[in-house]
Structure formats: C-alpha cells, structure tokens
Amino acid sequence: GGDDDTSTSSGDDGGELVTVGFVAVGPEGGWRQANEANVQDTFTEEAGFELKYAPATNLDQRSQIDAFTSFVDEGVDVILLSATEGAGWEDSLRRAQEAEIPVILIDRGIEPDDTDLYVTRIAPDNYEVSTSVAEWAVSAFPDGANYFVLEGPAGVSVVNERNRGWDDTVESVPSLVKIGAQTANWSTEEAKSVFETVLRANNNDIQIVFAQNDEMGLGAAIAVEEAGLTPGVDVQIATIDGTKPALEALSEGRLSFVAEYNPLFGETALEVVNQVLDGEEVEPYIVVPSEVFDSAEAATAALPSRKY
C-alpha cells in the first residue's frame, strides 16, 4: 500500500478491525465447504476481524493470484492463502513480503517449500492421511487383494500427494495388486458410472477401492450394490475426508475405512494470526491432527458430534 494508514482499509466504524484477506478455493465439495465456513465463522467482527473472502473461479490458480495481488495492492493486514495449486507462488509471496503483509498458508503448501516466503502453514498432512489408508489396506488384507484407485482430476496436487502416500506404502506389498486407476473428478455420479464399468471389466474381482474423497467412495458403494455385491464384504471401500455422509455410510458398513482430513482449524488459524500480529514467532508447519475411522462402531460414536 502506498499510504501509511495500513491498519484499516475501508472506513468501518470500529476502525480497529484487522483486515484479513482469505484467498480461498471456493465450493469444491463437503470438505472444502466445512473448512472455509469454519474459517469464515472464526474470523468474525466480534473477534476483531474483517474477513475478505475471495474464492477461486473454477479452481483456477490464476484467479487466486489475481485475488492475492489485489489484497496486496489494497494493503490488508494478513493474508490467508488456501492455494489450489502449490507451484507458482514465489513472485506473489515475495511481493507480499515487500508490502510487509504476513501470509499464512491454509491446507495446501507451496512448491518448492521455501519457508522464508510465508509465516506458517496450517494443514493436515495429505501424505500422512493417505498413508494411513494404505496401512489399513495392508493390514486388512494380509493374504493380498486386488485394488482400484478412484482419483480426482489428473494433475491436481492433492491427487498427486494422496497417490504418493498410498503408493509408497502399498507398492512394497506385492500381494496387493493394482487393477487400475481412473479419475471420477471427485464426483459421486461419475464414480458410480466409472466403477460399475470397472467391475464389469474385471468380473467383479476387486476387493479394495481407494477413493480419494468421500464423494467418490459413496459412488463406488452404489456401483457395488448395483452389481449385486455387498460393499464391506465383497468390496471394501476406503475414503479420505471424513464427512458426515461418509461416516454414516461407514456406520452402515457400506464403507470400510474413512480417514479424516480434518478441516476444522479456524481456531488454530485465529490464534496464529494473533500471534503473528503481536510479533511472536510461530512454527513453520502446524499439522492439524486427523483421526481415522476403521469400524462402524468408531463411526457411530463420532457421528453425533460431526459438524460437516
């Protein structure tokens, strides 16, 4: 910002509200919805913040860069960045640094991970989470099994990370055989359509489905049922995210394993922002703890308190 009055941007009557620019992903699915609502509900005016929410159009990184640039030009106090893509942020972050605006990464990290460019990253760990799914698969099928992966759109970095977590564990276990992988674009409907064909192509000889989000897992479950098989018995489906519909399905036995990718870290973010504004040092990476639900009972127990 060119002027000196960096504390406020628009003339709110309070005058002391901290302006936070939130470069967000926007509607994408249940998980994202929960995450961003949580952030928005945390940074309220009562808490002393004015949150400016800028979702991406169509998950397009370019629109995020535009929003980020605009926040810097406007001179907000803090920027929360929930990047759709990890690469390509260096220039923007450097500009924020020049403008002395602290940046906190929410969820997605940046590549290459240059910790000088941002204050901290708050996120669950995709690699860890998908590793936990892989470990479940290895332990649940000691005698081996055929598995199939339902991915998000090819090229998206979550997909790459979740693939890496899974592959690193499973590829060392020869008894787990990969039948194939297909994208279902995070969608229930497409997952159903894709998996119904996959089952036919393989004469139903698939025991594990690794669905990279809950929605696709639920679609796969429907496909399994329509093929006359029983999910949880003939085909076991593991998903990532831990949304309510998924836990319900788990409690009914239609899913077999749900790894939570915990979206509710607005509070953490709030604390961090306050620390940063007070000039305190914070850790460069704050991992948000996530649970795993490996049984119907666990899911049933968790359901009443599920917020998303």
Partner: protein, 351 residues
C-alpha cells in the same frame, strides 16, 4: 439519407489513435458504439471502485491490472480475428497448457531458452493449423474442430506430465516476467510493467494494424460479412481462414510464454475455461459473435473490464462464494444489454 458524422467521442487507447482521421472514422461508425460503450463502462467501474473501496486509482492496482491480464489480452486479440470471421476457437486454454508444459520440460531438459520459447509459440501455431485445416479443408464446423483441438491439446499436456513442471530458478525464461519499475512508489505501490505487458501492447497494435491496414485484415471482415460473397468477390478466403486460426493458436502460444514466465511453472490443468474468458472479453468489447463487426481495441477493453470486475469482487470481500458466478454472469448480461440499448438509441438518433 447521409450518416451524420459526429465529432469523435473519447479517443481510443493506444498511440494508433494519434491520427485524428482514424478516431474520426471509429467514432462515426455505428459499429464502434459498443466498443465506445465498453470503454465508458470501464471508466465508470474505475470511478465506482475508487469511491466504494479506494485504492483502485493507484500505481500498483492499475499496473497489476495489466500485468495480471496480459495473457488474457493476447488471447482476446487472437479470438477477435477468429470471431470477426464468424468462427470460434475453443482450444486456446488447452493450447496454453500443452505449450507451457512442453516449454518448461524442454527448458529443464537443457534446451536453450530461446529455442524453448520458440517451440512454445510454434506448438500454438501448429495446433491452430490443425484447427484451421479441419475447418477449411474438411468442412468441420469451427466449434467442433476447435473442441477437438482442445481435447487433443489437453490430452497431450496430460500425457506429457500431470505434475506441476517447475522452471529452474536460473532459467532465462523467468526473465520474461521481470518487473520493470517505471515509478518506484511506497512499498509495493510501484508503476511496473513486464515484458509480458510489452508483448501484449505490441500484439494489440499489430492486431489493429493488420485488421485495419492490410488486405488480410479487410478479408477477415469480409468473410465475417458473408463468406460466400467474399469468395465470389475473389478474395483469398481459404488462406485467410487458415491464417486466422494459426494466428489464434500462435497468440495462445505467446500467451503461454507470458503466463508461464510469470508463474515459473506449468501444469496440464492450466487454462481451463480461459477460452470463455477470452470470448467474453471480445464480446464485451463489442465484437459480434456472428462476425463482421468489432475492434481489437474493444477486446482489450473487454479483457480489462473482466480483470477489473474480479478486482472489485475481491475488494468487496463480502460476497458469498456461491454468488460470485451469478454476479459475473449478471455483469456480463448488464453489459451486453446496455450496449444493445445504447446502440439502438444512437441508431435511432442518426437514422
């Protein structure tokens, strides 16, 4: 019944308008009205933004408007050519993806940066040529031909790589995004331009000159008026049609260079939906999708209007995410309706 020539209303941007006769002609033409309207609305938006949110009329915001949208401007110039003939090119977004992924991979494989950049541009030209040949020599409809090219380009990009390909830190291609500070303001409030912006300006001027001062350009307009007439008038229709798709592809290649150098990385999913942005820019700038009327300068204004609109939405910050697309659509709608009303009003005044 002579058309009353009115004094030029507002000068068009760019040094090309320094010739008064030209501005005169633009102002006098009814077909220029939507373009003028777009310009006025753009100025109105700036004034509104400054009044409502502040910090719009400042070096950094305005120069970033250009820097951030330079690739869109380049795409819009290419699409102006195509749309003027009554065609359409849906492939530009995907062309950017394949061209930038290939360029970065080549550069990282040790190619000379100039060679890599050249290949990036040529990939665009080649894909444009594919569309052009399908359309001109096999009679495939532009929408379908360029849709096929779009799938092809996107597919090739994904087959090259599905992970972000990062340019080496010392790659010379990054230099293309160097910010040249013209005025060094407080903190980041600098007036900057990048080679990308310069490229965009040059391309816009070149596009203007080609369209208005060459036979090729006039043929483009003639085809948009009536392809059959243009053929029977003895104009080189096949070459021209082929040419405009090659131009559009080539400019997409250049846009890929500009965008990639800024981002420092390339990815197969880059550019999804950008063709619609570019088309919207062209339309907002007053070019008719049916072909025959429109101006390349209008498309520039169109691209800037879209960019500014995003800035204003971000500045507002309180808009619910589900509302943003509705607002974008709504603004686009208001725009085209306003232009229609304005054009109708003026026409009835002169008529």
């Amino acid at each position: 019944m002579t058309v009353t020539t009115r004094p030029p209303t507002g000068s068009a941007p760019g040094p090309a308008s320094s010739r008064p006769s030209l501005a005169d002609r633009l102002g006098a033409r009814l077909s220029a009205l939507p373009t003028v309207a777009a310009l006025l609305i753009f100025i109105g938006m700036i004034i509104y933004g400054e009044a409502a949110y502040g910090r719009i009329v400042q070096f950094s915001t305005l120069s970033n408007l250009l820097v951030n949208n330079s690739h869109l401007i380049i795409l819009a110039v290419g699409l102006t050519f195509v749309i003027l003939t009554g065609g359409i090119d849906l492939s530009v977004g995907a062309v950017i993806a394949v061209s930038s992924v290939a360029g970065v991979m080549l550069s990282n494989a040790g190619w000379h940066p100039v060679a890599a950049v050249l290949v990036m541009v040529l990939i665009g030209s080649a894909l444009g040529l594919v569309s052009g040949v399908l359309i001109q020599y096999f009679g495939v409809q532009p929408f379908i031909a360029t849709l096929a090219t779009m799938f092809l380009a996107r597919g090739l990009a994904s087959m090259l790589s599905t992970v972000p390909e990062r340019l080496a830190d010392d790659s010379a291609i990054r230099e293309l995004a160097t910010q040249l500070k013209i005025i060094d303001g407080n903190k980041v409030n600098d007036l900057v331009i990048t080679p990308g912006v310069i490229a965009a300006v040059v391309i816009v001027l070149a596009g203007f000159v080609v369209l208005h001062r060459t036979r090729f350009g006039r043929t483009v307009y003639a085809i948009g008026g009536s392809e059959q007439s243009a053929t029977l008038m003895g104009l080189p229709v096949p070459v021209t049609k082929l040419g405009i798709y090659v131009i559009s592809g080539t400019l997409a290649g250049i846009a890929a260079v500009v965008y990639t150098s800024r981002l420092g990385s390339a990815q197969n999913i880059t550019g999804i939906g950008w063709e619609l942005d570019a088309i919207a820019a062209v339309v907002i700038g007053g070019t008719l999708l049916t072909g025959g009327t429109g101006f390349v300068l209008g498309s520039v204004v169109g691209a800037l209007v879209l960019g500014l609109m995003n800035v204003l939405i971000t500045r507002d910050g309180g808009i619910r995410p589900e509302m943003t697309t509705i607002i974008t659509g709504g603004i686009l709608l208001v725009f085209v309706i306003l232009q229609r009303v304005l054009a109708a009003r003026r026409r009835s005044e002169t008529g």
